[in-house]
């Protein structure tokens, strides 16, 4: 068993880390404070091939694997979650369904623009009545004169409302017991983006409700066969878990790195606080948890890259890392004392950014259901 990353993966980590520290870190606080979408950074990441990491070169992707993708997501989140989720939702949720289930024409139409980062992709699954119970979709789509007519609303959708958003794949009922996915271009008539939410964190990422009022898209915009929507989104979420799990590891690592640096600087009772056992225990515990969680995430990525069943490991990784990120950011704030409660310190933002990781792309309770089912419970 070999725990070493390949030279390519090492260099990818190095490169994304340098980028995150040099390009993202200096503006992360400002982006968060101003709730400003990081257009400039997304364009730079697109130029480097990072908006299409796990897709083959034939479709315009960078030709990387899931492990390279996980490493990139991890390193970005170590510095800023908003930038990371923008890339992550675009890749795992926005581009993935078209890559996996699209026809040759659909792939040719959308993938080059998506994988190069020219446009952003989004995935609209969640609805007011369908969150964890994602199958309870209420949005309806019916055929009329060679077009789908869509009516309904989507909730909490990432990446759909920016000026570079180009397409959203939505889940809709195409019959009483039939769920299908449809490709909806940004300019489809009757498709409207609502105002962005006022969120606890992920402030520089774009999250909005979407409404479809007699929204019309061509019949060919159906993704895969009619009625395959449920299976398709389960598959997309399976893959997506590797990305969000990598976010959990990266955020926890960022929190630990900040906490350690601060603890070495901050003096109390005549010594750096890093010399006190109570602080050391926190740092040591976090480092163990992070390393264990990282291995779980990389294992899930590796299983996917080897073409094996990775669903269980990915759900385990997602469950483990979301909780870890919440705990690690809390401890990091604690180690910073009052300064951790002040926005000048990144851990303050980290703390707000962490909580969504136990909720988005399947809550912890949903992961537990998935895992328990896989265990045969």
């Amino acid at each position: 068993m070999d725990f070493d990353l390949s030279p390519d993966h090492e260099l990818m980590r190095r490169t994304v880390r340098d980028f995150a520290e040099q390009e993202v870190a200096p503006i992360a606080e400002e982006l968060d404070r101003e709730k400003r979408f990081p257009y400039e950074l997304v364009r730079k990441m697109g130029a480097l091939g990072w908006m299409g990491i796990p897709f083959p070169e034939e479709v315009g992707g960078a030709g990387g694997d899931s492990l390279a993708y996980a490493i990139a997501v991890e390193e970005l989140t170590r510095i800023d979650s908003s930038v990371a989720i923008t890339m992550c939702a675009h890749t795992s949720l926005g581009t993935q369904p078209i890559y996996l289930f699209g026809s040759d024409e659909q792939r040719a139409d959308w993938l080059p623009k998506l994988t190069s980062g020219e446009i952003l992709g989004a995935f609209g699954l969640t609805e007011p009545e369908a969150g964890s119970d994602a199958g309870n979709v209420q949005t309806r789509a019916s055929l009329d004169g060679g077009e789908w007519v869509v009516n309904g609303a989507k909730q909490f959708i990432t990446n759909a409302g920016t000026s570079m958003s180009g397409v959203v794949c939505i889940t809709a009922k195409t019959g009483d017991d039939e769920i299908s996915n449809l490709i909806v271009p940004q300019d489809a008539p009757g498709y409207e983006r609502g105002e962005p939410y006022r969120k606890m964190g992920w402030n520089a990422s774009d999250t909005r409700p979407l409404t479809f009022t007699d929204c019309r898209v061509p019949e060919e915009n159906l993704l895969g066969p009619r009625g395959a929507g449920f299976k398709q989104f389960l598959r997309v979420l399976d893959i997506g878990r590797i990305g969000v799990a990598a976010m959990g590891v990266g955020l926890a690592q960022g929190a630990l790195d900040e906490a350690l640096a601060y603890a070495k600087e901050r003096k109390a009772f005549g010594k750096p606080i890093s010399k006190y056992q109570a602080i050391q225990a926190k740092l040591a515990d976090l480092s163990c948890e992070i390393e264990a969680a990282r291995l779980l995430v990389y294992k899930a990525a590796k299983e996917k890259d080897l073409g094996r069943d990775f669903s269980l490991t990915a759900a385990q990784a997602k469950l483990k890392t979301g909780r870890l990120a919440v705990r690690a950011t809390e401890e990091a704030v604690q180690i910073h004392g009052g300064y951790g409660y002040i926005e000048e310190y990144p851990v303050c933002r980290f703390y707000r950014d962490a909580k969504i990781l136990t909720i988005g792309e399947g809550t912890d309770e949903v992961q537990q259901m998935v895992i328990a089912r896989a265990l045969g419970a």
């Binding site: 390519d8 990818m12 091939g49 030709g63």
Partner: protein
């Protein structure tokens, strides 16, 4: 024209620098390509892409432990066409002169028209390798170059001087060490990273390069390490309370004047 870029793997900037028991820099922990060298590679790639002079090849060269392959991997991902690694236990512990000699021998095999390197390494910070290599090769060398133009056989360079810049003209072949103001190095794209392993990497020993064993390594070096102590702590400095601004300005000017700083 052929450009050789000298590169080095150094401890990452985030790693705290420590002296080991032998009195040398502890090089354990996370490593990176010396940041100044990325500017040298970028300068080479810009010359190639610029098209004013035809650049047939960019070769990245390093002497170091086996792990230094990582630095070359990054160098080729940033645009070098191939790389050469001198990895030989005999070279370990070389000082600046011995390292410069070894690198000059590697360069002799390549006979490049232009040798580029970073002005300093992030670990040793000697600022001297370029000049040493130039001396061994018998090439003119310029250090701390922040602007570089080549026309025909002539290089026009701006080098950072104590006050402002010197503009200097020299002829090729030459050794030029560059400062970080010369350019903004790119990040390697994922495709470039994955394409890097397809570019040739040549691993050689001192015998292959005709390097005399007694001129390199700790034994071939004149420098003696040991007995290092921490530099003295900075003294407290002078704090001027600003009660009357014109008086404060006068005090500051007098202070600077006394030290001949203005």
């Amino acid at each position: 024209m052929k450009i050789a870029v000298l590169v080095k793997e150094v401890p990452d900037a985030a790693v705290e620098k420590r002296i080991d028991a032998s009195g040398r820099l502890d090089r354990s922990g996370e490593k990176n390509l010396n940041p100044y060298d990325t500017h040298a590679i970028e300068a080479a790639v810009q010359l190639k892409e610029g098209g004013t002079i035809p650049v047939e090849e960019i070769v990245a060269i390093t002497a170091g432990p086996a792990g230094a392959e990582r630095a070359l991997h990054k160098a080729v991902s940033l645009g070098a066409d191939r790389s050469v690694l001198l990895s030989d236990d005999a070279v370990a512990g070389s000082d600046v002169i011995a390292t410069g000699y070894a690198l000059a021998k590697l360069l002799e095999r390549e006979s490049p028209d232009l040798v580029l390197l970073g002005q300093q390494s992030d670990d040793g910070e000697n600022y001297t390798i370029g000049a040493v290599v130039g001396e061994f090769l018998g090439y003119p060398s310029l250090t701390q170059v922040v602007k570089l133009d080549i026309a025909g056989e002539t290089i026009t360079a701006e080098r950072q001087a104590e006050y402002g810049y010197d503009t200097v003209e020299i002829d090729l072949p030459a050794v030029i060490s560059v400062g970080d103001a010369i350019n903004e190095p790119r990040y390697p794209s994922l495709k470039a990273i994955m394409g890097a392993k397809k570019k040739p990497l040549e691993k050689i020993t001192i015998a292959d390069a005709g390097i005399e064993a007694d001129k390199v390594g700790a034994a071939g070096s004149k420098i003696e390490c040991g007995n290092f102590t921490e530099p003295p702590k900075k003294s407290g400095g002078t704090i001027i309370e600003d009660e009357d601004t014109s008086a404060t300005v006068e005090q500051i000017v007098a202070w600077l004047d006394e030290r001949k700083l203005i």
